[in-house]
């Protein structure tokens, strides 16, 4: 994944993100951050991080979560494993009430890692070389309509649903309509980015009982704009193109691998021989399951 993302650095050098799916465990994996790599390092910075980190873990425990493991990935980003069977939304809301705290992902197998810089920098920073999993999506971002920070980086986790992540290339033109509608349903958004809408929209449809494929087909009717997006769950990977096929996607389906990207050179970064690839057409929804 790092090689794929690095080969498309020219598409966006601002930030890089991964949604990685490892083997599902019994614990709940939570990744969160308490600052950004470009946050001002004032004299109180490290003490403040330490206080906030203690407060986050205290709040988790106060809701009945047992912290099985806790690791500081960077001085401001953390990975914890919890034994927790309670309400995820309540847990996330309580954690994010700590100043500057932001939950990046929650799931039994999903881990979202994102930070400023290119893929090689982020992979090294978070020691991703040793990660083993079944499927993943990634994104390199050139910030256009929102800030260069971790909150604005893709992939997006679908708060408050576990194990759902989205990356997106395009623009939604009915962003505010859906943002207001989803906020009225009790959801909150970590960013001003339209891509986050897709994640929450799809997760809500799936929570209502639709399959990932049906949710994505419904999005073609209800989300307006130009887009190609990928949505991933613990056991499925889907891709959806708008009715104009306005945004690129190159797809390779091999016997033991499905790989896709905005540019073929990303796929060629992991397959060094000639391959047969194609661009899915307009309004296409494709889903692969494990």
């Amino acid at each position: 994944m790092t090689r794929m993302l690095q080969s498309m650095k020219h598409r966006g050098p601002d930030s890089t993100g991964y949604a990685l799916y490892g083997p599902a465990g019994t614990g709940v994996l939570v990744r969160y951050k308490l600052a950004d790599s470009n946050s001002p390092r004032d004299f109180d910075y490290l003490d403040r991080l330490s206080r906030h980190q203690a407060e986050v873990q205290s709040r988790m425990q106060s809701l009945g979560a047992k912290v099985l493991s806790s690791h500081a990935e960077t001085e401001y980003a953390y990975r914890v494993t919890l034994e927790y069977t309670g309400d995820l939304k309540k847990l996330v809301d309580y954690v994010e009430d700590v100043p500057e705290a932001e939950v990046l992902s929650i799931g039994h197998s999903l881990e979202i890692v994102k930070d400023l810089g290119d893929a090689e920098q982020v992979a090294e920073q978070y020691e991703l070389k040793s990660f083993e999993g079944t499927h993943a999506i990634g994104h390199v971002r050139m910030a256009t309509e929102s800030d260069v920070d971790i909150s604005g980086a893709h992939p997006y986790w679908a708060y408050p649903f576990s194990d759902v992540a989205v990356v997106h290339n395009g623009q939604l033109t009915n962003y505010f309509y859906w943002r207001r509608r989803l906020e009225r349903s009790g959801h909150r958004f970590q960013s001003e980015c339209d891509s986050e809408i897709i994640a929450v929209y799809l997760a809500e449809r799936m929570a209502e009982g639709l399959t990932l494929e049906d949710s994505m087909r419904q999005s073609l009717e209800e989300l307006d704009g130009v887009f190609t997006y990928m949505c991933v769950t613990a056991d499925a990977l889907g891709v959806c193109k708008d009715e104009m096929a306005a945004k690129p996607l190159v797809l390779y389906e091999g016997e033991d691998m499905v790989a896709m990207a905005s540019e073929e050179m990303a796929i060629r970064a992991i397959i060094d021989h000639e391959i047969d690839t194609y661009d899915p057409y307009e309004s296409e929804v494709l889903v692969w399951t494990r």
Binding site: E264, M265, R268, E274, D279
Partner: protein, 263 residues
């Protein structure tokens, strides 16, 4: 700030711009008027520099490029007759702005292949992305696989022959030239076209605004059979013909100079 070196050896300056390195890779094996080089470890700029050096400065008329690796903007701006073979796939904007060469791509191409092609022949063995042959003005562009959305957008001449299917809005704002589509066509075929002819062998999902069925003539049959014969495509299937209904825009037969007098 020091210059950064990317994965493929491209050097960026402090503003992220590519350093104007015009050093020739000089990696070709030349045999008479033929040359071969491997592009695997070369940047886009190095590949194009090598190709242009062979064609323009050494007078090579038959160049084979191995392992192009789906890199973007390869083979652009070749403005003379020669034969070029890419053994592999190309990325976006392949072979754009060409005038004269005969190009064979054994793999697939990304978006906007052969954009603004003036003349020559390009044969792509695999699939093509969206915007294939955008604003093409002349020559023959043959895609033996399928092509993406908006193939031949703003086409001003020449032929785009797609053996497979094409995506939505193919022939959008087409102004002249012909498209032969052996497979199916997506919605919005020929939307807002001014002129030109589109032949479709498969199903049409939907016609665009002002694209209407046209009357078949012997000249249509002769043209298609000739092109199939030239490119070794066997016996052509039956086609439906689509043209501009000429209702969307105001048309007359006046030359621009005559129109000025009338107006």
């Amino acid at each position: 700030m020091d210059a950064l070196v990317g994965e493929r050896g491209i050097v960026y300056d402090a503003r992220g711009l590519v350093e104007p390195d015009e050093t020739l890779a000089n990696v070709s094996e030349v045999d008479g008027d033929r040359a071969v080089f491997d592009a695997k470890d070369l940047s886009t700029r190095k590949i194009n520099l090598e190709l242009r050096h062979l064609v323009y400065e050494r007078g090579i008329t038959d160049v084979t490029i191995k392992n192009p690796g789906a890199k973007h903007s390869i083979g652009v701006g070749i403005l003379q007759r020669c034969k070029i073979t890419f053994e592999g796939s190309l990325g976006y904007y392949a072979c754009g702005l060409i005038d004269g060469p005969e190009i064979h791509i054994t793999g697939r191409v990304g978006w906007a292949a052969c954009e603004n092609m003036m003349s020559g022949v390009v044969v792509i063995d695999g699939n093509a992305g969206s915007l294939t042959g955008a604003a093409i003005r002349g020559g023959d562009l043959v895609v033996k696989g399928r092509a993406g959305a908006r193939s031949g957008i703003d086409q001003k001449g020449g032929l785009i022959l797609t053996v497979g299917s094409v995506g939505s809005n193919t022939g959008f704002m087409m102004q002249r030239g012909r498209q032969i589509i052996c497979g199916d066509a997506g919605p919005g075929l020929g939307d807002s076209m001014y002129d030109g002819i589109i032949y479709v062998g498969g199903k049409v999902k939907g016609l665009g605004i002002d694209c209407v069925p046209g009357e078949w003539t012997d000249a249509d049959s002769e043209y298609i059979e000739r092109k199939f014969r030239i490119y070794g495509l066997g016996t052509p299937p039956s086609f439906d013909k689509f043209v501009c209904g000429k209702k969307l825009y105001n048309y007359d037969n006046l030359e621009p100079s005559e129109r000025k007098l009338v107006l």
